[in-house]
């Protein structure tokens, strides 16, 4: 697959430029489900894309599915409750482990143990991340086996409609919003499997859910230290980059300690910050022309020269 990942579009728009750079003609199919009941409010987007747009209304379709298929709705809700619970338990474990890591780092500073202790702490956190990811994935697989969503008549009908719309477009655009809801709807309709040779334009939360992992982050929240956390596997429509949108609000790029921690913790991917209007193109696992985007490096520094 090829396409572009973009930062938020509220203050500086780059959708038209990105879609031009990707070089695919024709109308665009839009996923705006992250905005839930506000998904229909897409009036500005055709102007920003300078293209015609079809809203796939995945959120609304999901609501219809739940209304038509109460058994499925019940199973879905119960899985969501389980996910919320284990996310909370994971977060509690993470916070304690992180506190311990900070305490140990302070005590071990300057001692012979310093380097080893730092490495142990990081490995422990990465293990928590991985175990959580595995647990969520296992839960999802069990649920899919039990409910067989794609075989349910209501979902199958919507998928047919979606397939038809997607055949007529060359580009799929995925907006941000609530990333758990967005990912949920994309999975509900087996969206990845409906894609053919489409180009992808995904911004902010949309860029996050299309990555291999979805990482929730905000380093200066009004409450707490702002420890990032893994939500679950993403759609994996692109590889090698963990998109971190809106760094001006959410990251502390001038804090080498935090930058280094993020980069090392999620080291299997490149942590890339996408500010308002920034975008980077990809073709399979090649990344190009990182316009404004910033790579977070393990040594705590950042670089704007990271894509070819």
């Amino acid at each position: 697959m090829k396409g572009a990942l973009l930062g938020p579009q509220q203050l500086k728009q780059s959708l038209a430029a990105a879609v031009r750079a990707v070089g695919r003609e024709g109308p665009i199919a839009l996923v705006n489900a992250g905005w839930q009941e506000r998904e229909e409010q897409d009036e500005e987007l055709p102007g920003l894309f300078e293209r015609n747009l079809v809203n796939l209304r995945l959120y609304e379709r999901g609501e219809k599915v739940f209304a038509e298929d109460p058994d499925f709705a019940k199973a879905h809700r119960s899985r969501q409750d389980q996910l919320r619970q284990i996310q909370e338990y994971y977060r509690l474990r993470l916070e304690r482990t992180f506190d311990a890591a900070l305490d140990i780092a302070r005590k071990a500073a300057g001692s012979d143990f310093e380097a080893d202790e730092l490495r142990f702490s990081m490995e422990q956190i990465q293990r928590l991340d991985q175990e959580h990811l595995d647990r969520v994935t296992a839960l999802r697989e069990a649920y899919e086996l039990q409910t067989r969503p794609l075989e349910r008549p209501s979902i199958a009908r919507h998928r047919k409609e979606l397939e038809k719309i997607l055949k007529a477009v060359g580009v799929v655009a995925i907006a941000g919003g609530h990333v758990a809801v967005l990912l949920n709807r994309l999975r509900l309709f087996g969206f990845k499997e409906l894609l053919g040779d489409h180009a992808l334009i995904a911004w902010s939360g949309g860029a996050m859910v299309t990555a291999e992992r979805v990482v929730l982050f905000h380093e200066s929240p009004p409450e707490g230290f702002g420890i990032s956390e893994v939500l679950e596997q993403g759609l994996g429509l692109h590889h090698g980059v963990l998109p971190l949108p809106n760094p001006r609000l959410r990251l502390k790029l001038d804090d080498p300690l935090r930058v280094g921690w993020l980069a090392r913790r999620y080291a299997t991917e490149k942590c890339v910050a996408l500010d308002q209007g920034d975008y980077v193109r990809f073709d399979e696992d090649q990344w190009f022309g990182a316009s404004g985007t910033v790579l977070l490096k393990a040594d705590g520094t950042v670089s704007t020269e990271w894509a070819s």
Binding site: L11, R38, M208, L216, P221, E223
Partner: protein
């Protein structure tokens, strides 16, 4: 150079200046002159005396400025801790009569319903940027609301804040604010709400900005006030607006006597409100007898607080309490903390180097609101 000459005013003094030298000094600095923890207050003019009047608990509330011999410059240097805010006025004595003025050399003023004070910021204090207008934040709207109150046997008007992206199909928490119009005028509450919502630090909320024609009476544990809010206004709002309508979605908020109104209303209706935001509450009490030194307005407050202290019960699940260290009420607020904690209330208590004023209450809003109503910033990426 001796230790004392680190300060600009001491260097000036040492130079035995005339008025021309004072002119040069005045042009070279902004006043009050903040140098590390030392703040020098300065007044210029032909007067008989100048006093600094401040409202810092623990400091004398009047301190004389000293005239620099041979000049019309008056000065006083105080130690003001880092990140402090101190409000003050000058008392100028002419012809034997004193009158109070704002510091003519200081452009920073803090306004309240009684007028304005000059304000000096200790080193390290900055006005939080989230309290200032942000053009990127979509503004909410204020809708007028009218309630015919049986409790008060009159008609009450107030504004209701609706968030920018208000939708009838959603469900919102309700915050009932005492002294609402003052919070909007003097603590930028509307701007703060717009900004915190825009940054996803709090969810979209609906906020009733109520006032009172007789706040010292009605806010001091008046049964009619609690009944008006709980049995008349909140049910009316919940009927006509898409509100959560459960304790976790109901918050009472107030500062000073408004804090007493919030707590006493919650005490009269335990469990109805799930959230409290109490700023510098006038929680006067006595450990023996019912005497208080604060005047007759506080008598019902002392009776209420003494009753509550005898039998503290859990009235709301979660509360945010804040107070300024320069306030005389710091003792009462600190005393309330272990009591509320003993009721197993989920309590956050915050102190600031500030006084009993609207800027203090403004500066604590982010922490308080986001603690009581955490926003979706973890999950939502625009």
């Amino acid at each position: 150079m001796s230790h004392h000459h680190h300060l600009a005013i001491d260097r000036l003094k040492h130079a035995n200046p005339d008025n021309a030298a004072v002119d040069t000094f005045m042009q070279a600095h902004a006043f009050p002159l903040v140098e590390g923890p030392k703040v020098t207050f300065v007044f210029r003019g032909t007067v008989e005396a100048v006093h600094l009047k401040s409202w810092v608990y623990g400091l004398p509330n009047s301190q004389p400025l000293v005239q620099l011999p041979g000049t019309d410059l008056w000065h006083l240097t105080l130690e003001i801790p880092r990140k402090s805010r101190v409000e003050y006025k000058f008392e100028i004595v002419r012809g034997g009569n004193g009158h109070w003025i704002e510091d003519p050399l200081n452009p920073y003023r803090a306004t309240d319903p009684f007028g304005a004070n000059s304000v000096v910021h200790g080193e390290g204090y900055t006005v939080p940027e989230w309290t200032q207008l942000d053009r990127d934040a979509r503004p909410g709207v204020l809708e007028p609301w009218i309630i015919k109150s049986k409790a008060f046997n009159d008609i009450r008007h107030f504004n209701v804040y609706l968030p920018a992206r208000f939708r009838k199909t959603r469900r919102y928490p309700l915050i009932w604010v005492h002294d609402g119009p003052d919070y909007v005028r003097f603590a930028n509450l509307k701007t703060v709400l717009d900004n915190l919502i825009h940054r996803l630090e709090i969810p979209d909320v609906i906020v009733a900005l109520s006032g009172s024609p007789n706040r010292l009476g009605e806010y001091a544990d008046d049964e009619r006030h609690a009944r008006f809010v709980t049995e008349e206004a909140v049910p009316d709002l919940e009927k006509r607006l898409p509100l959560i309508g459960a304790p976790r979605g109901r918050c009472l908020m107030g500062a000073s006597f408004g804090g007493v109104a919030a707590l006493s209303t919650a005490v009269r209706y335990p469990g109805f409100y799930g959230r409290l935001l109490l700023q510098s509450g006038s929680f006067a009490f006595s450990d023996i007898g019912h005497q208080n030194k604060r005047g007759p307005a506080f008598e019902p407050v002392v009776r209420f607080m003494n009753r509550f202290r005898e039998n503290p019960v859990l009235v709301a699940e979660k509360a945010f309490l804040s107070c300024g260290m320069h306030e005389s009420l710091i003792y009462e607020n600190r005393s309330l903390v272990p009591m509320l904690q003993a009721t197993e209330m989920d309590l956050r208590y915050v102190e600031a180097r500030d006084g009993h004023n609207w800027e203090n209450w403004r500066d604590r809003l982010r922490e308080g609101l986001a603690w009581l109503f955490p926003g979706p910033l973890r999950m939502v990426y625009e």
